[in-house]
Symmetry: C2
Subunit: 332 residues, 2 copies
DNA sequence: TCGCATAATGTAATCGGTTACAGGTAAATT
DNA sequence: AATTTACCTGTAACCGATTACATTATGCGA
């Protein structure tokens, strides 16, 4: 494999000239430039980036920590993140943590040992659920919540949830079930607050029995829905904290002969691709995942490059999308 | 930031001893080992992997080239690939090519410049659609087809397609529509051959009008289905070359008042998570994505490490999954 | 013609590890 | 006691780029 010294020898110039010809060609005479390019072509020289990165003490790579890459909501983020990183000359190291603490630490270690320059965290984190990333390593949360500490891009989960539940209430629903994420998940916490806000402003009393806990998977939504089917005083609408659980729940409801939305309305959150194609199509909240990913990557790279941040938190607007899974409450 | 020389100084040993204490502790006296570990703890030493990788001329990273990471079929693969790579101490560099030639080249360049040691290709490639990866760089296709050149893991697309169409024929269907991928996609080619095989063995004549071309997205499936709705002599079953297009097509069919499976059967391919949860649940072919990803990564790492390969191609079995989207043809 | 600024180039140090080689000590063998 | 062997350790070269600094050549004005 040819090195910069081979090129220099063949071109009849010094290694410094070759290096300059590549990184600052305006500092090199046209004559030398030509000789260098000829030599590069002759020996098919490809610079060794490992050497370059070593010298510059930078890896030009960023770890993306994601709880589960097969989750369609995260994959949208990742696509945007990767796109932006690529544009700026950075690589994305995939860090699928499968939700475990241990794997997260392994990836943090990669930054500490210089194999990556920073971290994009997709797991929502708050003070309560410590994020165990040392303060001195560049990190941005691309999917934060109200209590996320450090630089973050997020939506206003609480307000979005309130909007959704307000809408259900406006349709006449008074008993509104919730399919939540795990209790200690910060998104669950924020969205549940939004749900309670909506009930409060409508003067509806909160009923703990209407909360069914899931874990953001379709399967858990499917299970959670049974809790509502078997109730003597069934809710007339269900607010699911993500689309996947809503889609799972629909299966259960349909299987139990409950018509959507005639007998029960159901809503999601995230607006994943299937939300539009399921039957009936899902009323949901759209998160600007592309935009969030792009902004998060920009923020991280700015931190890495040592540029000042104009703001360390950015709250992006969501979009409320009404489809066919919701309808006015049935008069019975 | 502390280096190995700092540790050596504080421990009162040479840098060689420190290096050995870390990579071959059995070659170092217990006494030295203790001094080194104490010094490491004292200065919070983290080895600079960029230096190590530079010296060893290896990056311990692998590029995964994927046409679109937001495609749920690919994300399953990626999860398996990442899992295996992590186990073996390799990082996964995400290479979302968005289907473009150009981006693929950018990632190939990363291998040539030593930022990665090899490539996992998820785009099906064949002789016809050149894969433009130089022969001297380690590469495995994790999602190959019959004509893929070089090391590959694949399924028997042709046989799987035939199994599916045989099944539809066994239900009495004679006019079987196809929603295909792009014409020159190798998977399309293989699966279409399987379709024709099945027709041939049942003595049914091939009808070009029954082929609707899509591009493996839901949206294209939705559109392709219109071609069948408007036909005077409508097919009684549709074989879609992936689940997403099948799900898109279902939307169109239902919207046109065509009942599934009573009026028309429909089948998919891949068995993505949603295939089980759509309405009706989808009869499909399950690909062992986890297993394929794992095997592909193992094969690639073996090539990188210079170990001999027992075989350069591996064809894994698929599973035929019957759900609710298929039924015997209606007697009319 | 001389002095000085500017441009182009070359020499060699440097980054932080790994490792070939040499040297030294103590135990084992003759 | 001499020789061999095993084991541990240290010195310094090395990987391939970048870049500070020195050097040389050229152009320009006085």
């Amino acid at each position: 494999m040819s090195s910069i010294r081979d090129v220099a020898r063949i071109a009849g110039v010094s290694v410094a000239t070759v290096s300059r010809a590549l990184s600052m060609p305006e500092k090199v005479s046209a004559e030398s430039l030509e000789k260098v390019h000829a030599a590069i072509a002759q020996v098919d020289y490809k610079p060794n980036m490992l050497a370059r990165n070593f010298r510059s003490a930078r890896s030009y790579a960023v770890v993306v920590l994601v709880p589960d890459i097969a989750n369609p909501f995260y994959s949208l983020f990742i696509r945007a993140l990767e796109d932006r990183a690529q544009q700026k000359g950075y690589a994305v190291l995939l860090g699928d943590t499968r939700g475990t603490h241990e794997r997260e630490l392994e990836y943090i270690r990669r930054v500490e040992t210089r194999l990556a320059d920073g971290i994009i965290q997709l797991r929502p984190s708050s003070e309560k659920s410590l994020n165990n990333i040392p303060a001195d390593i560049p990190c941005v949360n691309a999917c934060g919540c109200e209590y996320t500490t450090g630089p973050a891009i997020r939506i206003d989960n609480r307000a979005a949830a309130k909007t959704m539940v307000d809408y259900l209430i406006s349709l006449g629903h008074k008993r509104i079930g919730v399919i939540s994420g795990l209790k200690d998940n910060p998104h669950t916490v924020d969205r549940l607050e939004g749900y309670k806000d909506a009930l409060r402003s409508a003067g509806i009393e909160f009923d703990r029995d209407l909360i069914a806990e899931g874990d953001f998977t379709m399967w858990s939504g499917l299970n959670a829905a049974f809790q509502f089917c078997n109730m003597k005083n069934r809710p007339t609408a269900v607010f699911s904290m993500n689309d996947e659980m809503a889609i799972g729940a629909m299966q259960t409801l349909k299987a139990q002969g409950i018509r959507i939305p005639e007998d029960m309305s159901i809503t999601g959150f995230d607006d994943i691709a299937y939300a539009k194609y399921c039957d009936p199509s899902l009323t949901t909240i759209s998160q600007p995942a592309e935009e969030m990913g792009k902004m998060a990557m920009d923020m991280l790279l700015r931190i890495i490059e040592g540029e000042p941040l104009s703001q360390t938190e950015c709250v992006l607007p969501t979009e409320f999308i009404i489809r066919k899974s919701t309808a006015p409450v049935k008069i019975s």
